[in-house]
Amino acid sequence: EAEVAQSPRYKITEKSQAVAFWCDPISGHATLYWYRQILGQGPELLVQFQDESVVDDSQLPKDRFSAERLKGVDSTLKIQPAELGDSAMYLCASKRGSPDTQYFGPGTRLTVL
C-alpha cells in the first residue's frame, strides 16, 4: 500500500538554527499539504500545493518558514531561524485530486531547545 514518506522522523535543534523537513507524497497525488500540530491541538494547515504551485500559504509564517515543491513531486519545508514555539509535529499529506481524501505521512517531531 502506497504511503506518504517523511524524513526525518525526529529532529532536535537549538533556537536560531535552520531545519528542513522532506515529504514524498503518494505517487500520482497532485495536491500536497504541510500541517503543524501542536500538542493537544488538531493539525493546522501551513501550506497547500497543487503540483508545483502554491495554492494557499496564508497561515505560513513567511518571515521564517518557506516551502517548495519544485518538480511537483516531493516537497521541502524549511524553518530559519527556529524558535522555541516551533516545537511541534509537522505533518505532510497528499491527495490525488478533487474530491479525494487526504493521506498523511508519519510526521516529523521537531523539538527546539
Binding site: Q41, G42, V55, L91
Partner: protein, 111 residues
C-alpha cells in the same frame, strides 16, 4: 478561530460497549466532514466521512451521524475494541479545500 470543536479531550469505555465521539462546528459553509484516527508516533489515518447532503454514513463498526441544524456530528463505534484506543480528530471542509481539524478526543477502550 476554532471552527471545529471537540469538547471532550478524553473518553474511556469498556470493550464491547459503544463509543460516541462528538464534534461541533460553527461554519455553515462546511460541506464535507471526516474523522481521522491517530496512533502515537503515526500520522492521522482516514476513518470515515460524510457529505452534508447526508445524515448518516456507516462503515462496519463505524457510523458517523450529521445534524446540520445543530452543526453537530458524532462518530459511533460499536462494539468498541482495545485496538480502537487512539486519538480521534474531527475535520470539516468546504468546496473541497481548507480542512479544519478539531483538537481531538483520546479514546481508551478497556479490556
Amino acid at each position: 478561530d476554532q471552527q471545529v470543536k471537540q469538547n471532550s479531550p478524553s473518553l474511556s469505555v469498556q470493550e464491547g460497549r459503544i463509543s460516541i465521539l462528538n464534534c461541533d462546528y460553527t461554519n455553515s459553509m462546511f460541506d464535507y466532514f471526516l474523522w481521522y484516527k491517530k496512533y502515537p508516533a503515526e500520522g492521522p489515518t482516514f476513518l470515515i466521512s460524510i457529505s452534508s447532503i447526508k445524515d448518516k454514513n456507516e462503515d462496519g463498526r463505524f457510523t458517523v451521524f450529521l445534524n446540520k441544524s445543530a452543526k453537530h456530528l458524532s462518530l459511533h463505534i460499536v462494539p468498541s475494541q482495545p485496538g480502537d484506543s487512539a486519538v480521534y480528530f474531527c475535520a470539516a471542509m468546504y468546496n473541497n479545500n481548507d480542512m479544519r481539524f478539531g483538537a481531538g478526543t483520546r479514546l481508551t477502550v478497556k479490556p
